[in-house]
């Protein structure tokens, strides 16, 4: 008995010691900390009401009345962009738009710049394939003088030749810098290739072509497309429709309408691209862009395409990033994107890798795309993608500039006014079958693949490929690489 009692003491002490160590830990770790909390019910997405009116000269006025903001955003959206530039002058739409803020018939470039700065006007100009957006933000107390100045850019631009030279120079060097990044070079080349022969310019510019733009062409472009009856003006701030109408009539009534003709856009079908292009771009990195045609934003497939894109490569939690970077270490990143144009749409995968990993990266992209139409999409993954899209939209709409732009896009692409309000419920309705069907429709055909890298260091890693079309850094065809053997074009 004595011995037994003696043997128990250490055990008891050990128990006390363990208890002493564990109890603070137990205390510090409350139960509710172990798992994330359940979300509360999601508030509905209620966007501010939009009122509209078409004025005498055909200018459409949209008013988004917001009261809790001392800032005003004004956007002028022109239904013309780079697709309206002549085929031999890509960049004309961009040059014209930039030049419009470089002087008017009553105020020189310096005066315009000084007046913009004096009123504290922050502005941006976005030229896409199908539209151009001029966005101006300022203090709402400066609405009247700001509008008086901004209207001059549209009503009486002067296009001074000195300023044209400056705009062309800026744009030229900007394009040269842009194309030093192999991903930009690959994307621009991809756009040109995928729309080749359609007569449609999806917005790819060429540095050398900028040099050929003259004041005459800028004037003609302005006369043809920058007309009030081809434009929308969006007021976003503390203003009523009546007041906005008064201001627009007062300042924009001299903007003369003219019939605007834009050729109908050819609808291009998703097709099997039996083509891998190699673009010689100097530098140590390799960029790959691969994609195919889909449908325009107005298509019923739009929502399932959004979910599909998210599953494929929307974020760092999507399949491409996980496969190529996290699991296999083949790429610095890998994402996918959707682009929408008048009458057409695109999906495209983009990745940056190194020459030795290029072959495996291409195989991994192909397998990842196949997995979306060949294998079952797990409900959990699908719900995560839907939750992301529904949750992210309101975040994208926070700034007045972003909200005005989304509202303008509804008009440009002829979408219903409740398009963004109904977005969450349209995403919610999707199931795995509908997304997989969309994947089969658009991902199962072979994409157009563009590789942008330095030929001298990369082509050796592409010996396994049956046929690769090789282009120089200017985009001129050089020859075909077949199983590692380069066959130059006959000159």
């Amino acid at each position: 008995m004595k011995n037994r009692s003696y043997n128990l003491w250490p055990e008891f002490l050990a128990f006390i010691l363990i208890f002493c160590f564990i109890s603070p830990a137990l205390e510090s770790q409350e139960k509710f900390r172990r798992l994330p909390p359940y979300p509360e019910p999601l508030s509905p997405l209620l966007l501010p009401p939009v009122e509209s009116e078409v004025l005498g000269n055909g200018l459409k006025l949209l008013v988004v009345a917001r009261n809790n903001n001392h800032l005003f955003n004004l956007q002028v959206v022109i239904q013309a962009g780079e697709s309206d530039s002549p085929a031999e002058l890509p960049g004309l739409a961009t040059t014209t738009a930039r030049l419009m803020l470089r002087g008017t018939t009553t105020a020189g470039a310096n005066e315009v710049e000084e007046r913009l700065a004096f009123l504290g006007i922050e502005y941006s100009i976005e030229v896409q394939a199908d539209y151009t957006i001029f966005s101006f933000s300022f203090l709402d107390e400066n609405l009247e003088p700001a509008l008086a100045l901004i209207s001059l850019f549209f009503v009486e631009p002067s296009f001074p030749s000195l300023e044209l030279a400056a705009v062309k120079r800026e744009l030229y060097y900007q394009l040269l810098r842009r194309n030093q990044d192999p991903e930009n070079a690959a994307y621009d080349f991809f756009l040109k290739k995928i729309f080749a022969g359609s007569g449609y310019n999806p917005g790819a510019l060429e540095a050398e072509a900028i040099k050929n733009i003259s004041v005459r062409e800028v004037n003609q472009f302005h006369q043809r497309f920058l007309r009030p009856n081809n434009s929308i003006i969006i007021f976003n701030g503390q203003v009523s429709l009546t007041e906005a109408r008064r201001l627009v009539v007062q300042h924009f009534r001299r903007w003369v309408p003219r019939p605007v003709e834009r050729p109908p856009v050819q609808k291009l079908e998703n097709r099997d691209f039996d083509q891998v292009c190699f673009l010689d771009v100097p530098g140590p990195e390799v960029a790959v862009v691969a994609g195919n045609l889909t449908v325009p934003i107005s298509s019923p497939d739009y929502y399932s395409l959004l979910v599909l894109n998210h599953l494929l490569g929307g974020t760092t939690g999507s399949r491409l990033f996980l496969q190529l970077r996290e699991l296999k270490g083949l790429a610095f990143y890998a994402f996918s994107e959707l682009s929408f144009f008048q009458g057409n749409g695109l999906y495209w995968v983009r990745t940056k890798t190194s020459p030795p990993a290029l072959g495996q990266a291409l195989t991994a992209i192909s397998r990842t795309m196949r997995s979306l139409y060949d294998e079952r999409i797990e409900p959990e993954e699908l719900e995560r993608a839907k939750a992301y899209l529904m949750g992210n939209l309101p975040i994208q709409l926070q700034s007045p500039e972003a909200l005005s732009k989304r509202i303008g896009l509804l008009e440009l692409f002829q979408l219903p006014p409740d398009f963004w309000a109904k977005y969450p419920q349209n995403i919610m309705l999707l199931n795995a079958e509908s997304v997989q069907l969309t994947a089969r429709r658009y991902l199962s055909t072979r994409p157009l693949v563009v590789i942008a890298a330095e030929a001298a260091t990369t082509l050796d890693y592409l010996k396994e490929f049956d046929k690769i079309d090789v282009y120089n850094r200017k985009g001129q065809f050089q020859g075909v690489l077949q199983k590692g053997v380069m066959k130059y074009e006959n000159r």
Partner: protein, 446 residues
């Protein structure tokens, strides 16, 4: 009082009352942040904005590179990355996944004296954000393996950045000239040697000392109610123990007055000559900061500012110019960076810079130029405060840590209205001293 005067008095009274009412309406349109403090010292600022079903949470700690222990440069910056590497209930990088899975966006930033972590999520996920932030405030888990990996990532990224942007290291070198001591003058990102010398013990000591509720502010902005926010914040943060009382703001060891410096460096990696300019401003009063902002606007912000106008457009001495004010504790510095075609142009640019700064104290700023600076500052300030939830929450958290009180938005705008061009002249006369100008010329090796 005679009767005939009464209608005039009534009219005046009505006009006065109307003016008061309008002014009350105008100021009521500026949001008013609410705030409360938990028992453990965590300050919470809440702004209710129901315009969209979105909320932003910013957790800002009063810790930055000024708190790096000597020889451990880059520790505060490294900590920013380690805070994503997992805590008791959240696996490594799971923080990012939790936020992305609900459509949210997140990031972090470290400055000289503050570190910010922020998330914007759908408003029904407020609980999730608070759960995540509370977990890493109290239960961060760092292992030797994680630390080793993050240290190497940091070293690699910095090396890559230097190769891609060779001028980047000169932004730190001008700091060393302006602030000649370790705390104030060392680089935020550290050096390869200092980062590699950071041990797990350094990290844990730093974390326990600074990442505590009484050294932090939590700012919530968006579609939420104060009562619910208070309830959830209390649930997740109240039981996190208070840390050691934060030490007083580190004071510099250098002598505040500084003689002019003019240094030249040759670098084979840069492609054109460049100039880094800096001047330290000290003994500032709280009301000077707003005037300094206007001075900054007039000098260097935008294409029509004095320096851009003269150096880039008129005299064409610079190909590119940027700059602005930077705060370090009790000091502000005005820093300018410019690129030029030749070394001679840099030398001439130095004279123009000095000339333009001296002009601020010898000439009254024209009224129109002053109004322009005011318009731009007011736009920037309101854009920050009302543009979106993230910019607002970041600005409020930053101002709270700087001033130790919840910012008064209307008060700031009223103060701005009262300033005159003379305010700039008077401040320039007190602060601009040519003998304090510092120049660092960088020349390529051809």
């Amino acid at each position: 009082m005679s009767w005939p005067k009464l209608p005039g008095l009534v009219l005046l009274t009505i006009l006065f009352l109307q003016a008061v009412l309008w002014s009350a309406q105008a100021s009521s349109q500026i949001f008013n942040p609410a705030s409360f403090r938990l028992k453990n010292g965590l300050t919470v600022i809440v702004v209710e904005d129901p315009s969209l079903p979105v909320i932003t949470a910013v957790v800002a700690y009063r810790v930055g590179s000024v708190h790096d222990p000597e020889g451990k440069d880059g520790l505060a910056y490294l900590m920013q990355n380690l805070m994503f590497q997992g805590s008791e209930n959240v696996g490594p990088l799971q923080h990012i996944n939790y936020i992305q899975n609900v459509g949210g966006e997140l990031n972090a930033a470290t400055t000289f004296d503050k570190t910010f972590f922020y998330e914007t999520v759908p408003s029904n996920q407020l609980g999730l954000v608070l759960w995540l932030e509370a977990d890493r405030m109290h239960f961060l888990q760092v292992t030797e393996a994680i630390l080793a990996r993050e240290k190497e990532n940091l070293v690699r990224n910095e090396n890559q950045r230097y190769l891609q942007e060779p001028f980047s290291r000169y932004f730190f070198l001008i700091d060393q000239i302006l602030y000649p001591d370790f705390r104030y003058g060392h680089s935020l990102t550290g050096t390869a040697d200092s980062i590699r010398s950071i041990s797990l013990e350094d990290v844990l000591r730093f974390y326990r000392k600074y990442y505590v509720p009484n050294n932090a502010v939590l700012c919530l902005s968006g579609d939420l109610k104060l009562a619910r926010a208070r309830e959830l914040v209390s649930r997740y943060f109240e039981t996190i123990p208070r840390g050691e009382e934060p030490e007083p703001y580190p004071l510099p060891e250098f002598i505040p007055s500084l003689s002019a410096r003019d240094q030249v460096m040759v670098d084979p990696l840069v492609s054109s000559p460049a100039l880094q300019f800096g001047v330290r401003l000290e003994s500032l009063r709280p009301e000077d900061l707003l005037i300094l902002r206007l001075m900054e606007q007039a000098l260097v912000q935008g294409g029509t500012s004095r320096l851009v106008n003269r150096l880039v457009k008129k005299e064409r001495l610079a190909l590119f110019l940027s700059g602005g004010l930077e705060e370090r504790g009790q000091f502000q510095s005005l820093k300018i960076f410019l690129l030029a075609n030749t070394q001679i142009m840099v030398e001439r640019a130095k004279k123009v810079l000095a000339d333009e700064l001296n002009r601020l104290k010898t000439e009254m700023m024209p009224e129109r130029e002053f109004l322009k600076a005011k318009n731009n500052h007011k736009f920037n300030y309101l854009n920050q405060m009302t543009g979106n939830n993230l910019s607002r929450a970041m600005a409020l958290a930053d101002l709270y840590l700087k001033e130790g009180r919840v910012p008064d938005i209307s008060g700031e705008l009223n103060r701005l209205e009262k300033l005159t061009p003379y305010s700039i002249l008077a401040l320039a006369r007190r602060q601009i001293r040519e003998e304090k100008f510092c120049f660092l010329t960088i020349i390529p090796r051809y």
